[in-house]
């Protein structure tokens, strides 16, 4: 299927950009899943294309050469000059430019003063946000009119429809620049924090959340005033959802809620302010690892170094304030910026409130004053209205048919589905539920899960491919009926994984988790998948996140262990698994992962002992594992016997090639391993979690690449 998507996309890219979407629509008329996959990939491909064009131009083209008539730093996109007049503004010069637009120095001829004009990039005003919403936000900020908030004089439009904002030109430096010189004095830090909090309080009172409080957005004027600037983190929720790995912007200042892409409120800004205050005092950030992923890990899990470790003189009350701002649970933070201001003011016994503090800060800034730059105001408004909370799909009571509901409930019986025959009974119930109410979304989601369950068990009725096809149909139907159902997206995601359409699987599971963060099972599945596709660290972060939702649920706990294993942290993984030992009935997957941990440590007898325990419930996968370990342990005769059984079996029923490949890998037979791996892609028995081991055994044989490409997993670096 992914092959099909590749082909369609490939063809689409040969068309004119305008025609591409239409072509995709037409090629995927009867397949909404395919359509979504195609559209998402098209967007990504186009953005990348555009980027590479520009990169190519930058590196190789001599269009910018100094021999040209045009001044060297003139970009092709219309730069405005002093000829340009918009209403009563005359452009004086270009100040600077950032991702969120271009800033010019201009003269306001009506009021005879200098101003800054900020033009939005055309794509931003056109696409990223509905114009009305952008305007509404800008107006909301303009209406604030608060001394600690960057003012907006006017919001206007050019004749050709480009939006711009007129703002005052401020002198001074940003807090970011200032922090390069080291930490601030305690008084200064507190004064700055108070002023930021005042700006926030004014915004929050009007229902505006800043969302991007960070030193680069805090401007220190020579007169001691601190102003909160805007800038551009106005990302629609959709962007987070699609663009999996990244929440844009600097993660170091993001609250845990924001970093997860959850709806946020004013308390998220308070967290960010806490990070800024910490940095002003300590001179380094509380979450200070170098890359996004480890920083997120810190934000979610570790407590920052106490401030007293940096500065002994810090008042205890101030330490407590910072600690309270950096509470992961928003309920434990301050209730409001006002409350914070009160506490900050009383935290400094000697400072007598903020008047003295701001005087101090003025003195200090004046000392720097001579070298102060005209501040380049690059930001743009990212004040966004407090996120409306998404209506949560309320339960699965989406049927009014009592009988249908009853059948649905019966299909949910957990003990029942442990056996293949029980799963069939459950299937029967859910099919009856659907027969009684054909618009019953939750029942379709359930049906999808049960078909998947049966596909993964012993299925005498049809091939694995056919069964997974039925599962896919049901999941697609569930999503079509209720796009806001986390269960439906989770089911679709899991099925896509087994169909080797992993990019889509990631997107669907992520969607499921966003729609219903409390679904620890979907969270665990997402973690597992991230590990598979080559993001072990993100997988670990995700697994822990899922576990936070439901600390006692075995699945996320097992996924934490699995992700630790993928990060080569076997001992920690085994320690996690030990906690799951006492479960009744034992969790099959825990034993499976434990065996892999021992194998990673090359402790073959222990690995074999673990597999022996899961053989009764493990089907052919456990046999495959056993064959692999026996082979690696040098017990070739026993391994060969398992191999013979599996090969015979795989001829009888569909969908076991992967386990044969495992045993061949254990026996060191590279050619056979690759051949059976290829078959496993065809018969859909491929399971990605074994690839790293096989790759380790055989190194980077180029024949693995097409296999990995077909199933959407990364070639691992071992």
């Amino acid at each position: 299927m992914s092959e099909l998507a590749d082909r369609i996309l490939d063809e689409a890219m040969t068309f004119d950009p305008q025609a591409r979407t239409a072509y995709l629509e037409q090629s995927s008329q009867h397949d909404p899943v395919l359509r979504n996959e195609l559209i998402a990939r098209l967007h990504s491909a186009e953005a990348a294309d555009d980027f590479f064009d520009r990169l190519n131009e930058l590196v190789f083209s001599s269009d910018f050469s100094s021999e040209d008539e045009a001044p060297t730093d003139e970009p092709q996109e219309s730069v405005l000059g002093d000829e340009d007049v918009f209403g009563h503004y005359r452009i004086v010069s270009l100040i600077g430019s950032g991702g969120m637009g271009t800033l010019y120095r201009a003269r306001d001829e009506r009021l005879d003063r200098e101003v800054a004009l900020k033009f939005l990039p055309s794509d931003l005003s056109a696409e990223r946000k509905p114009r009305e919403r952008l305007l509404a936000e800008a107006r909301a900020v303009a209406a604030l009119n608060h001394p600690n908030v960057c003012a907006i004089h006017e919001i206007a439009e050019t004749a050709d429809g480009r939006m711009f904002f007129a703002m005052p030109l401020y002198d001074g430096i940003t807090l970011k620049e200032k922090l390069r010189q080291g930490p601030l004095s305690i008084e200064e830090a507190v004064s700055t924090a108070i002023q930021i909090a005042r700006g926030l309080a004014a915004a929050h009172a009007r229902g505006i959340v800043h969302r991007d409080v960070k030193p680069g957005n805090v401007m220190l004027s020579p007169d001691g005033t601190v102003r909160l600037l805007d800038f551009g983190l106005a990302i629609p929720i959709d962007a987070i959802r699609v663009n999996s790995n990244s929440t844009r912007g600097t993660v170091a200042y993001m609250s845990p809620q924001q970093a997860r892409g959850e709806p946020i409120d004013a308390r998220s800004d308070l967290w960010s302010l806490g990070v800024v205050l910490y940095e002003m005092i300590a001179g380094s950030r509380p979450f200070n690892r170098r890359n996004s992923a480890p920083i997120l890990e810190q934000i979610f899990h570790s407590d920052p170094e106490p401030l007293s470790a940096y500065r002994q003189e810090i008042p205890a009350a101030l330490s407590r304030i910072v600690k309270r701002l950096l509470q992961r649970d928003p309920m434990k933070r301050f209730e409001s910026a006002e409350q914070l201001i009160d506490d900050l003011q009383s935290a400094l016994p000697a400072a007598a409130g903020n008047s003295r503090a701001s005087r101090l800060s003025r003195d200090r800034v004046l000392v720097l004053g001579t070298g102060a730059l005209v501040f380049v105001l690059i930001g743009f408004l990212s004040w966004t209205r407090i996120a409306e909370t998404r209506p949560r799909s309320t339960d699965h009571s989406t049927t009014r048919n009592v009988a249908a509901y009853e059948h649905y409930l019966r299909s949910m019986d957990q003990p029942l589905i442990r056996t293949d025959s029980g799963a069939r009974i459950a299937l029967d119930h859910v099919e009856q539920a659907i027969a009684l109410d054909t618009g019953y979304a939750a029942a379709y989601a359930r049906l999808a899960r049960l078909q998947l369950r049966i596909a993964n068990g012993n299925d005498p009725d049809m091939s694995r491919r056919e069964r997974l096809g039925l599962a896919e149909q049901a999941a697609v139907r569930a999503v079509a009926l209720d796009d806001s159902s986390g269960e439906a997206h989770a089911a679709l995601g899991k099925i896509m994984k087994y169909l080797n359409r992993r990019p889509l699987a990631v997107a669907e599971l992520r969607r499921a988790v966003i729609l219903d963060p409390s679904n620890a099972e979907a969270g665990g599945a997402l973690a597992e998948l991230l590990v598979e596709v080559g993001y072990p660290y993100e997988g670990l972060v995700q697994a822990r996140r899922a576990r936070e939702q439901d600390p006692l649920s075995p699945i996320p706990n097992a996924e934490v262990a699995n992700a630790l294993l993928a990060n080569d942290r076997c001992d920690e993984a085994l320690a996690e698994l030990a906690k799951l030992r006492s479960l009744r009935p034992p969790l099959h997957r825990a034993g499976d992962i434990a065996a892999q941990c021992y194998a990673r440590k090359k402790m073959w007898p222990q690995a074999i002992a673990e597999v022996e325990r899961i053989i009764p419930t493990g089907g052919n996968r456990a046999q495959g594992m056993m064959g692999y370990y026996l082979g690696r342990a040098g017990r070739k005769a026993e391994a060969t016997k398992i191999l013979d059984d599996l090969v015979r079996h795989s001829r009888e029923i569909n969908g076991d090639a992967y386990f044969v490949a495992m045993v061949y890998a254990g026996l060191g037979d590279r050619d056979q391993t690759i051949e059976w791996l290829e078959r496993s892609v065809d018969d859909l028995s491929f399971i990605a979690d074994w690839m790293p081991d096989i790759m380790r055994d055989f190194g980077q044989d180029p024949r693995f690449f097409p296999i990995a490409a077909r199933v959407g997993v990364a070639i691992l670096r071992h």
């Binding site: 490939d10 930058l58 083209s61 996004s292 180029p702």
Partner: protein, 201 residues
Amino acid sequence: MGDAEQHVVNRLLHEMRAGNSEAFTQLLPLVYDELHQIAGRQRRKWDGEETLDTTALVHEAYIRLVDHAGQKWESYPHFLAVAATAMRQILVDYAKRKHAGKRGGGLKRVPLFEIESTLESSASIDEARSSALIALDDSLRRLEEVDSRQSRIVECRFFGGMTIEDTATALGIAPITVRRGWTMAKSWLYQDLKMALEDAT
């Protein structure tokens, strides 16, 4: 470049055509040296605001190394593939030297996603170019670990300025594979650079 070297180059190119990937590795230093020497003469351009005309460089190197008499153009795509890798190294080396020469020597990241804006702002073009090259090189290295074939395709297409067909011939794969690989690699690098950029800010 003596006759012996020319002989070696010819032999290695022949082996590459026959599918021996080891030949590539052996050829690389020879091609690199030659290209580097030729480029050295054009350094002045690079040091100004201009770019090197890489196509012309590679062409000249090919003629000097392989084709005195204008005969052996069937090896050209294979030579280009090696030259692409060499060119990547040369350009990145230059870029790194530029950065090292800067005050403090630290690597200042120019926001790649604002290339136009970078040009508008105070950073000079060649600063932006250096930053872009270094970031791309880093990213390409990460791609290499994930899918080395895709990274080879990028070298050929981007650094070598090669056509789909030449790339296909040189790498011994189908043109459609090149085209898809190129599309996928661009998406991958774009995402990766975005992440790297976020990490840097």
